[in-house]
């Protein structure tokens, strides 16, 4: 393993050489143990990686705290968020409850059924009107029936 491969391994797998894939781990340990200028450079790279990882993962000491007023500001703007999204509100109203969705889906069926029941009584009159319209001789009909 050369120093470029070692550095690539540090970037991919981190500073813990034991966590590298087995073959690479063996080669990395051998490089460190070789006690020559290359191994010195490798050790420096490991030290830098360890320091960097400590900095990155020390979130509790390096986190930027959210301003205390931010939460209240967010909650105060919830009403405005709903006003600018009426479609979202409507979808949420329908989607939130199964029975609302079911009734909405059944509405066309209910309306169609109702329309069918309403127009049923008029069929006799329609038949008579058809007869009037298509008859060849007006005298065939007794207009007293209308």
């Amino acid at each position: 393993m050369n120093i470029e491969d070692f550095e690539d391994g540090l970037d991919r797998y981190g500073a813990d050489l034991d966590a590298w894939p087995e073959e690479l781990s063996t080669a990395a340990h051998a490089l460190i143990a070789s006690n020559d200028p290359v191994s010195l450079r490798a050790s420096e790279l490991v030290r830098a990686t360890v320091g960097l990882d400590a900095l990155l993962t020390g979130a509790s000491t390096t986190a930027h705290p959210a301003p205390p007023y931010l939460r209240n500001r967010i909650l105060a703007n919830l009403g405005h968020a709903e006003e600018v999204d009426p479609v979202g509100r409507l979808l949420r109203w329908f989607g939130d409850s199964l029975w609302r969705t079911a009734i909405t889906a059944l509405l066309p069926l209910i309306v169609g059924f109702g329309a069918g029941v309403f127009t049923e009584g008029q069929s006799d009159n329609l038949a008579e009107i058809d007869g009037l319209v298509y008859s060849e001789n007006m005298q065939e009909f007794n207009f007293d029936d209308f």
């Binding site: 991919r12 990686t49 900095l55 986190a63 705290p65 909650l75 968020a81």
Partner: protein
């Protein structure tokens, strides 16, 4: 989250309290500006409130979903801005409401900020999510809307850049 989907504002308030800190931390280091970070976080939570009906419980973790919203908002904002201000134009700003208990912690925070500013935006986002915010590479890929392989590549390049900067910083310190 079930209560939030029903429109329960009190439950949403609890959710905000629980997630505001990690989101703000991510937003701050993405945008490198506390005012922009506040707006990003606010827009994220308001968007989450509007779209809570579309969130599928169990399909994706809530924190992953929130970070994704924030990241997408950040991308939208940077696209709108014609003059994207480079990180170097911002001075490192100390938190206005952050009485640091330790000088060491303060210095560590500034050091990390300085290092992260060196990175291109996509590498900065990847390293923040995967190493600072604690997401897995798979979750990071989901937030960034890319593949796990792409995330691993971003992380590899980011770590190399940061390590060189970190080493240079240490060398400079030792020389003084």
């Amino acid at each position: 989250m079930l209560a939030v989907k029903e429109g329960d504002r009190a439950a949403f308030g609890v959710l905000v309290g629980r997630h505001i800190q990690p989101l703000y931390n991510y937003a701050y280091r993405l945008s490198r500006n506390p005012s922009n970070a506040e707006d990003l976080v606010q827009d994220t939570f308001l968007n989450a409130w509007q779209k809570s009906g579309s969130y599928k419980i169990g399909k994706v973790q809530l924190t992953t979903w929130l970070h994704r919203i924030l990241h997408n908002k950040f991308i939208d904002e940077t696209r709108k801005q014609k003059d994207v201000v480079a990180g170097d134009k911002f001075d490192l700003i100390e938190d206005p409401v952050s009485p640091e208990a330790s000088h060491v912690a303060k210095q560590a925070k500034l050091h990390l900020d300085k290092l992260l500013r060196r990175l291109p935006e996509n590498q900065r986002a990847a390293i923040m999510l995967a190493r600072v915010q604690g997401f897995s590479n798979t979750q990071t890929a989901e937030i960034l809307n890319t593949s796990v392989r792409a995330v691993e590549s971003l992380l590899s390049r980011a770590r190399r850049t940061l390590r060189h900067e970190f080493s240079d910083g240490e060398t400079t310190q030792n020389e003084h």
